[in-house]
Amino acid sequence: MDKVKLAVYWAGACGGCDIAIVELGEHLLELAQVADIVFWPCAMDFKLADVEAMSDGYIDITLFNGSIRTDEDLHVAKLLRSRSRALIAFGSCATEGCVPGLSNVRGSDYALERAYLEAPGTENTQGMLPGRASNLPDSLHLPGLRPQVRALQDVVTVDAFVRGCPPNYEQVWKAINQLLTEGLPRSGERLLGVDPRSLCDQCPRVRIGKIRVPRFKRIHEAIPDSEQCFLEQGFICAGPATHAGCSAACIKANMPCRGCYGPPEGVRDQGSAILDAVVAGFAGQNDAAIQEALASIVDPIGTFYRYSYAVSLLNQLAEHRNAQPEAVAVHAEPKR
Amino acid sequence: MPVDDKLRVGVYICSCGANIGSVIDPAAVAEYASHLPDVVLARDYMYMCGDPGQNLIRKDIRQYKLNRVVVAACSVRMHEPTFRACVADAGLNPFLMEMANIREQDTWVHSKDPEGALLKAKELVAAAVAKVRHVFPLTTITVAVTKKAMVIGGGVAGISAALDLADMGIPTYLVEKELSIGGTMAQLNKTFPTMDCSI
């Protein structure tokens, strides 16, 4: 049997997803037995031109991590789409925009100004910003930021998804095996390497099931009990509205889940689902108590949509408000 | 505090129809009482407050020279005046009569525990006998009466009372808080059932 041709790409992301692949360790040797890596700019010396030179469908599988943040990300995404038989959105950024997606709340101009001009410790006397013309000699052309961060499937057709920020290495290996043994997925067909239920199924913590709380604490305000359900202690935990697959890593480290594995299957908007789970535990019996509970939730978008804002109904609505929807390759369809 | 030459106590247990008699046996109480100190006779009877009952007491006082009487029947709030008058008729100082409340405070509240009620009745009678052995004659106090009345409230009831008193020749002050008398009635339109006007 011919070896499988595998590509890995890193778009708008932190690099954690590539590390997740490296974390496979000895499995990488097993992988090398069955697959040829034809493109992995982070780890090996490939150029974009190499990909451009490939024929359509030359690559069997592309693991694409990172959001569509820059013009270049969009370009490479389209290119890899055409060259790959299966395009896999790998990790939270590619799947749902992840933390970079939160910049959509204030827009990319604000993000640039904040990062390059205002951030403490930044010295940028000439006010240079990536993607804008500069008059410096020998300046590199940096790709411009797109107005909105997009998930991969919002710009090209995606065949399967690997969740997580970053994906757990065991899950990565499971996903790769699934791809190698079960054949290539059809477009948008499935999540790879995850368990069917939400995280609570794997959470070892005790749930009384009837405890409601008057208000919510942030994690720096108290030390949680390590045995009891976070929500029942008054810490917001996204576990009920988050797909299992991470082996409850954060929970075991006494940190509430923040939702990086995205919503359970069939759930369109993860933020809404987390919101529902949180409201369910309000103890308040009157409006004043409810207002107090609501006030205890600071930064609602960061709390409910930390990983999924870019693909959320809320972001979609905010874009309507801007009334200048950018053209996208694939219109947002109900995912999954 | 003179104790008479020799105490002679008569005890009367009222059956009050079935009110007492259906829960406890008055005869048993009487039998018990007959052995109490200084008791010379103890009887039970269907209705002590009725004429025959009272006659019985009056007759016994005279015949047996009773100088103390205990009536075990209803509440003192009900019939103490009756029995005081009864013994006074027979020449006994009315304060030499004591009552034991074996109806309101016994058979009517312990109907489900007849044994307990019987024991309680006996002890209440014994207590009354004990008290009556220590009582002494008292003379009522006589005070003068100011022959005037005050009616507080000038509504329909107050006006009615004031008019009747005055018509009987008693000077009456009719004190009203409001500016005019008549009370609620003065505010009414027509009044039932005759549908005439109120004023």
């Binding site: - | 109490l36 009354a128 022959k147 507080i152 009831a157 107050g158 009372a161 009456t172 005019s180």
Partner: protein, 620 residues
């Protein structure tokens, strides 16, 4: 009204307050304050010239504040006495009235309140009732919706002498209401407010309906009721007439009244019990048959006259059947709705009855009162020995005791009401109460606690309240355990600490001391004297080694039979939960200390025998 004013023997003292009443039957003295009208009664001829020129209008409480009066005015045209009055708080002192009054010169801005003392032999209390505040039932919408009115407001609106000259109009738009819903039992027969039936509301609502239907046959009138109560003579016929005339009677208590915010019409929702279905009536006006309730000042008046109030707040009669117009205080009689809701015929009848009961006293030159009074044993009184004391005088609510150092205390028998508070308070046991002497009480204790005292509850009861409460438990047939043994004294103030200690000395399992609620006390402050004394007792008992839970203090009114039964039941359960051996051990432990404390008591006549020898030699 007019008859009363014309009767020469009646002194109508309107606009006056009774501030204080002292004394006793045949010899009361009342302090009455005549409030200033700023118009001289003997000069005002009621012409009204002053009112016509007065520029100030204020709400008229006689019209339930739905119509104004002038700052100088009479409450209504037929007022008796017809003397004008200045509402001094609202008068702007323009003195136009003075000018208008002219040569009559009846207006006197310098008039002051006048306090007069009245000597009287008997008192009739006929202070009447108030109407229930319908805003307390928000679901009926009173005060939220303009067209929801009370029955008293209806009386004024339908009254030809009222503010609309008898034209019934809707407060929202001044138009005639073509449909009227009348809701019965507003605030009565309602556990949230008053459990009693107000008695006459059925009849007045039918009367209002009938009156309106006669005047406006086309009017749609609906009475919503739980039960129609028309038991008096001629009333049922009256009710039948109303039904014949087409007034609709629907059995069912409405759940709520809501309003169309535009038309201000009202929607009454009710389950018609006959239909078994919920129906809705759109009415242009709703009238609430608000209950009769005790007057707001009834508590204050009760304590001034030492009267008792039933749980409902109306004044309690001496006996509900046999002495229905006598108050518990001799010489004071009750008439009208203050004793319980009453209609006019019943109020008139009770007024006459009260007059008759009062005349029973007033027709005599003298009156005999019970000789149950306090008497001082001069030899025991330490004041006679030149020591400073006076505790008895301080305990007496009637000022019947005078103490002069060097002489024994003196009780004025006619002033003494016989509560026995001084007797119990005297540290020398130098005062006795005739008919309730120490020996007379202790003789009973000795007998009652002779056999199995550990299984018994010894209950001290005051004559007026808790003994009445125990009677009430009986008449209501509230069962309770037969372990209690009652001892009656006149007032809780008579319940000597020595009685309680003696009861424990004799091994009583439990001791209850019970009396009136403070406001009900028949002897003004007797209950307070007792309460202060009882507060100290648990600690005393504890020091002696007696479990203070074996002692209980309860204030139980003559109407609280349920409470009496409950208290005994609870105490019995507590007693049964205790170890009998433990009680005996506690008694043994406390015995020397109690004997020591009761040492002086032995020198009181007849007490020595009672404190040593067993009293009851029952032969079995």
């Amino acid at each position: 009204m007019v008859d009363a004013a014309r009767q020469p023997l009646i002194d109508v003292m309107a606009y006056s307050d009774v501030e204080r009443v002292d004394g006793y039957i045949g010899n009361f003295r009342a302090q009455v304050r005549r409030n200033p009208r700023y118009v001289l009664a003997d000069r005002c001829n009621g012409c009204g010239a002053c009112s016509r020129v007065c520029p100030i209008e204020v709400p008229n409480s006689f019209e339930l504040d739905i119509a104004p009066r002038k700052a100088i005015d009479v409450p209504h045209g037929q007022a008796v006495p017809l003397i004008y009055q200045i509402d001094i708080d609202n008068c702007i002192k323009c003195y136009q009235c003075v000018t208008a009054c002219g040569h009559l010169d009846a207006i006197d801005f310098s008039q002051k309140a006048e306090v007069v003392d009245l000597d009287i032999g008997a008192i009739v209390v006929a202070t009447g009732f108030d109407s229930f505040d319908a805003t307390k039932i928000p679901e009926f919408g009173y005060s939220r919706y303009p067209n929801v009115i009370t029955a008293m407001e209806m009386e004024r609106l339908a009254n030809s002498a009222g503010p609309t000259i008898g034209h019934l109009v809707r407060p929202s738009d001044g138009k005639f209401p073509h449909s009227l819903a009348i809701i019965q039992c507003v605030g009565s027969r309602d556990k949230r407010f008053n459990e009693y039936c107000s008695g006459f509301c059925c009849m007045y609502s039918i009367k209002n309906a009938l009156y309106l239907k006669q005047a406006h046959p086309e009017m749609d009138i609906c009475i919503f009721y739980m039960d129609i109560r028309t038991p008096a003579k001629g009333y049922e016929e009256f009710y039948n007439r109303a039904r014949q005339m087409g007034i609709r009677f629907i059995q069912g208590r409405p759940s709520q009244v809501t309003e169309d915010p535009v038309t201000h019409n009202l929607f009454v929702e009710v389950e018609d019990q006959a239909l078994g279905q919920v129906i809705e009536m759109e009415a242009e006006m709703v009238c609430l048959a608000a209950a009769a309730i005790p007057r707001g000042d009834s508590e204050q008046v009760a304590s001034m006259l030492t009267l008792s109030r039933s749980p409902s707040g109306f004044y309690m009669e001496y006996h509900p059947k046999l002495r229905p117009v006598d108050s518990p205080t001799d010489g004071i009689f009750l008439a009208g709705a203050i004793q319980g809701p009453k209609d006019i015929p019943a109020s008139v009848a009770q007024g006459s009855a009260a007059a008759s009961r009062a005349a029973r006293v007033l027709s005599k030159d003298t009156w005999e009162i019970e000789p149950i009074v306090a008497r001082v044993d001069a030899e025991r009184c330490i004041s006679a020995q030149g020591k400073k004391c006076g505790i008895c005088a301080r305990a007496c609510p009637y000022g019947a005791i005078t103490v002069e150092q060097g002489y024994a205390a003196v009780v004025t028998p006619a002033k003494c009401h016989g509560c026995g508070g001084c007797v119990a308070e005297c540290p020398q046991d130098a005062i006795r109460q005739d008919h309730f002497t120490d020996a007379q009480v202790v003789a009973q204790l000795a007998v009652l606690l002779k056999d199995s005292p550990q299984e018994k509850i010894l209950a001290f009861m005051c004559h007026w309240c808790s003994y009445g409460g125990a009677d009430n438990a009986g008449t209501s047939h509230f069962e309770y355990p037969a372990s209690s043994r009652g001892v009656r004294v006149m007032c809780s103030a008579r319940m000597d600490q020595d009685f309680i200690l003696d009861a424990f000395r004799r091994g009583a399992g439990m001791v209850l001391v019970s009396g009136c609620h403070p406001q009900d006390c028949h002897y003004i402050t007797g209950q307070q004297v007792a309460a202060r004394r009882f507060e100290r007792i648990p600690r005393t008992l504890e020091r002696m080694g007696i479990n203070p839970e074996r002692f209980r203090v309860e204030w139980i009114s003559a109407a609280e039979g349920d409470k009496y039964a409950r208290v005994i039941t609870e105490m019995d359960a507590k007693l049964k939960s205790m170890d009998r051996g433990q009680i005996i051990a506690e008694t043994a432990r406390a015995l020397p200390e109690i004997n020591n404390r009761l040492k002086r008591w032995r020198s009181v006549p007849y007490m020595a025998d009672l404190l040593t020898e067993p009293e009851l030699e029952a032969v079995r």
